[in-house]
């Protein structure tokens, strides 16, 4: 009787282990496949080229490229590591400091991010992306006025930076400057019509602050059109219904 009971207990355990092993194998397969993705091939080539780098400047440039790709992928640990290397080899290069600052921001290290981005700006004042990331850093530090200034500089240097227009709209809204915020969101949407977030923000602003139901519904709908599979689509539809849309 006992072995029978034991085997009955063991079967689900074995099945569970087998299931886990399957998942592990599937994950390993996915990792292997991901390694051959174009971005990763590019990363591998950059790592390989480090061997042939003759000068510190060459190394700094390669590490900056590696950091840039990792930052795009969202791999914060690797982005921090490679941008630190880039700064080490070329301490006076604005791009290296910009990438380091951006990586620190992604890692939630706001004071470090501020320092690196300010260094980057000192080295090249007209580089819009450093101002953009500094604006994001100040936003996370809840220093909205400074954030607004930095986003303002970003759009002055690069008027087509739709994300800076969007983010400026967010901080302006938080500062109570709603009309200016609407203009910023609208500019972001005009520059990039498939940038769904701008419509969402317009919807929320009209809904909660400006109490304009018609415009809120209109923008929520535009958001759903631009982002048909957004995770909160059900919720947004409820918002539209509540507003009488």
């Amino acid at each position: 009787m006992r072995p029978a009971v034991l085997s009955l207990l063991l079967i689900p355990a074995i099945l569970l282990c087998a299931c886990k092993k399957d998942m592990q194998e599937m994950m390993l397969e996915e990792i292997t496949l991901a390694e051959t993705a174009s971005l990763n091939r590019e990363l591998a080539a950059l790592h390989a080229s480090l061997k042939d780098a003759k000068t510190d400047f060459d190394r700094a440039v390669i590490y900056a490229k590696i950091a840039g790709i990792n930052s795009e992928k969202g791999n914060v640990k690797e982005a921090v590591r490679s941008s630190q290397e880039s700064v080490k080899y070329q301490p006076n290069q604005y791009m290296s400091h910009y990438l380091l600052g951006k990586s620190y921001l992604q890692a939630g290290r706001f004071a470090d991010a501020e320092e690196s981005l300010l260094t980057s700006i000192r080295l090249k004042e007209t580089f819009p992306l450093s101002h953009f990331e500094l604006g994001n850093t100040y936003y996370k530090m809840r220093r909205n006025d400074r954030a607004e200034t930095e986003f303002g500089i970003t759009v002055k240097l690069d008027p087509r930076h739709f994300m800076a227009h969007n983010n400026r709209g967010v901080v302006l809204s938080l500062m109570g400057k709603h009309a200016e915020a609407v203009r910023s969101f609208e500019e972001a949407a005009r520059l990039r019509p498939d940038f769904a977030r701008a419509y969402r923000n317009l919807g929320v602003l009209y809904d909660l602050k400006l109490k304009n139901r018609v415009m809120a519904v209109k923008n929520y709908r535009k958001y759903l059109d631009a982002s048909p599979n957004c995770p909160e689509r059900h919720l947004v539809r409820t918002w539209i219904r509540v507003l009488g849309g």
Binding site: A34, V76, A107, F132, S227, N229, P231
Partner: protein, 498 residues
């Protein structure tokens, strides 16, 4: 005699009724809510949620240990009440019906469909706590296959014992919820994986016994959803306080980035009391099929973190930019922030012009272990003295001084030079080849820096030549040419006749 018979009959009826009541009380009382099919447009178009709930209700009902509340039970109760009020039914009709309404658990779930595949995920939660007590999910080509997998788990895995282990209120168990996964870049927004992925991860997290996962549907109700959203900022949503008040200690959030042939899933575990990120990671998959394995892998990692197997380390130095080595492996540069397994580690800091610093580090779980280290500058007095003695031809004293410098600043970059000079003096002047070889070999072994190693090999090669071991000298030269082709020392080695 007759009274005795009546007594026995009454006793038997009582035992039977008690037994029936006991059996009823032992049952797992459950209701199945319609599955959410609104996560993806394709899933919603098929209205797959109701069918999924029906199939799962059938799976529960087919097993004796479950009591499943009928979907229209509450409405039916009110209908009967109306009939009684209208005089169409006896008042007793509605008495005792609460038995059919009472449930302790609720099964919620999601069906999503994109790129031809169905993802079905079911979670059963304790209605009082919203902690997931059982979960199972599957990805399949047909909805029936996905639901079949879940039904199998319900029938074979979801037992009273399974439930008992998961439903007990253990205050030491960390409480976590999966909220706030977003589609980060525009290609990701077009694909819209984040909603479905969040549901899969939610279910995977709910399958662990040593953590309590609060169902995401409930946790999301505690967040401010109508918030303005920044672009290019990680962690848009700072409203973790609502979760913290309700006892959810950690939230697992993240983003998905889609590239032409790669999907990157980035995730972070945040302490809801202060919004601090306690852990951060990334996974890469080649395509949509990898979403579930990735969720499984992430959930295993987070379970490790939450069960105190990993802690965070923050290392700063004065001056900054020192290289950080942890347990001998290069980990980055100061200011350094990273995750390490709990327990003892050795941290080493190296910076040119400063003495190598080494110290033990005790990594505590769920805490940031912080070290701020002031590095001690290398004083070159001893080195200058050794070089001066070398210039004066006092070889023995020079070797002794170089050794003193190495002993004092052994791990510093300046010690590389001292060790090389010592080997050189032993080789060229003292002609103690064995000692010279030892010096060069330790230089190779101790310093990973490329150029220093090339110089050390060059010293070894010259020592072998001096010792008449031409074969070993040639091998060393070949090694240098292969591994350090760009080094100046290699260039010199090439010019020597071997």
């Amino acid at each position: 005699m007759r009274a005795k018979k009546i007594l026995i009959t009454a006793l038997l009826i009582f035992i039977g009724a008690a037994g029936a009541l006991f059996t009823q009380a032992e049952k797992i009382r459950i209701a199945v809510a319609p599955f959410d099919d609104s996560v993806t447009a394709e899933g919603e178009a098929e209205r797959a949620g109701t069918a999924a709930a029906q199939a799962l209700r059938g799976a529960f009902s087919s097993v004796e240990r479950f009591f499943v509340r009928e979907p229209g039970a509450i409405q039916g109760y009110f209908d009967t009440l109306t009939r009684v009020q209208a005089g169409l039914a006896e008042p007793d009709t509605i008495r005792g019906q609460s038995e059919n309404l009472l449930v302790k658990y609720l099964t919620v779930g999601t069906v999503s469909k994109f790129e031809g595949l169905y993802d079905a995920d079911a979670r059963t939660v304790n209605i009082d706590t919203w902690v997931i007590v059982h979960s199972h999910g599957a990805t399949a080509g047909t909805l029936a296959d996905a639901l079949g997998d879940i039904s199998w788990s319900v029938k074979n895995q979801f037992t009273g014992d399974y439930l008992k282990d998961r439903d007990e209120n253990d205050p030491d168990r960390p409480v976590v919820s999966v909220t706030g996964f977003s589609d980060y870049n525009i290609p990701a927004q077009k694909r819209g994986y984040s909603g479905a992925f969040s549901e899969i991860l939610n279910g995977q997290m709910g399958s662990f016994i040593l953590i309590s996962t609060v169902e995401g549907k409930y946790a999301r109700a505690l967040l401010e959803e109508k918030a303005l959203e920044m672009a290019g900022v990680i962690g848009n949503d700072d409203s973790g306080a609502g979760l913290s008040i309700r006892g959810i200690q950690y939230r697992l959030a993240g983003d998905i980035r889609v590239f032409s042939d790669l999907i990157c899933i980035n995730y972070r575990l945040q302490d809801t009391s202060d919004g601090r990120t306690v852990y951060q990671g990334s996974k890469e998959i080649a395509g949509r099929k990898g979403l579930r394995p990735a969720a499984w892998s992430i959930s295993c990692e987070i379970e490790d973190v939450l069960n105190s197997r990993i802690g965070t380390v923050k290392i700063g130095s004065t001056p900054p930019s020192a290289e950080v080595y942890i347990d001998g492996g290069r980990a980055g540069a100061t200011p350094f922030l990273g995750s390490l397994s709990r327990g003892h580690h050795t941290v080493t800091l190296k910076l040119s012009g400063y003495k190598q610093h080494e110290e033990a580090l005790e990594v505590l779980p769920k805490k940031i272990t912080e070290k701020n280290i002031r590095l001690q500058a290398v004083t070159l007095e001893l080195m200058m003295k050794a070089m001066s003695l070398e210039r004066q031809g006092k070889w023995g004293e020079a070797v002794e001084s170089y050794q003193k410098f190495i002993d004092e600043y052994g791990g510093s970059y300046e010690a590389d030079n001292a060790l090389y000079r010592k080997g050189h003096v032993l080789l060229v002047n003292v002609k103690d080849y064995a000692a010279a070889l030892n010096a060069f070999k330790s230089l190779v072994a101790r310093y990973p820096d490329t150029m220093t190693r090339a110089e050390a090999y060059f010293g070894m090669m010259k020592t072998y030549m001096a010792m008449g071991e031409r074969e070993k000298a040639r091998e060393t030269a070949e090694y240098m040419i292969k591994n350090y082709p760009e080094a100046y020392a290699t260039e010199e080695a090439r010019g020597m006749s071997l």
